[in-house]
Amino acid sequence: MIKIQKKDFNVENEIKTIKDKYSSIGAVNVFIGFVRDYNDKRDVKFLELEVYEQMAIKELSKIQQRAIKKFKLIDSLIIHRYGKLYVNDKIVLVVCFSVNRKNSFEATKFIMDYLKKDAPFWKKETYDFGSNWI
């Protein structure tokens, strides 16, 4: 499942919704990205996250399907937020559900690596003085 949304998400609830469907899941690996206070030597006040939404859904689905096949996942969830996000806000959630732990780790890493490379999202950081597309 792919979700592109403005609103926050609850990690426990998001995992539970999928986990409840499959008793065969033994391992779940999760990555959560947060807005941090300090990047590239500057204090960040907030981010504006822009997305090319239809293409993001298409790209993330493609990456997720490759991960599911390559690492024999039972299921996977990607949530990526957009809009104005403050320090300590969550940005992204990737969850990979599998029978054994090794595959869940490798799949989450695989998805994050391709997401960073190909998913059409852009961050604009605002500092005390000025702002910058990163």
Binding site: L49, E50, Y52, M55, I91, P120, W122, W133
Partner: protein
């Protein structure tokens, strides 16, 4: 043809989207010429090959022919996650 601009490209083009009718670029090389002509500040980024081009929401590194009803997107390297 619809051309969409994202992130700081949009700050240069001063628009999110534009529609071209009969006189649209017929391939990516022609698109680059069009962008250079219309938005001279984009030239250095185009010549350094920094921009990415998506055709109907798919990346494309080749130089395929473009159709009148295509949706083209022009954007800088992504930075999500």
């Amino acid at each position: 043809m619809k051309i969409k601009y994202f992130a700081w490209i949009k700050d240069i083009t001063k628009k999110d989207v534009e529609i071209l009718n009969s006189n649209y670029p017929k391939n990516i090389e022609e698109l680059k010429k069009y962008l250079t002509l219309m938005y001279p500040s984009l030239e250095k980024h185009i010549s350094k090959d920094i921009l990415r081009y998506a055709i109907n929401m798919e990346y494309n590194s080749k130089n395929p022919s473009l159709q009148e009803n295509d949706e083209i997107a022009v954007f800088p390297p992504v930075s999500g996650g």
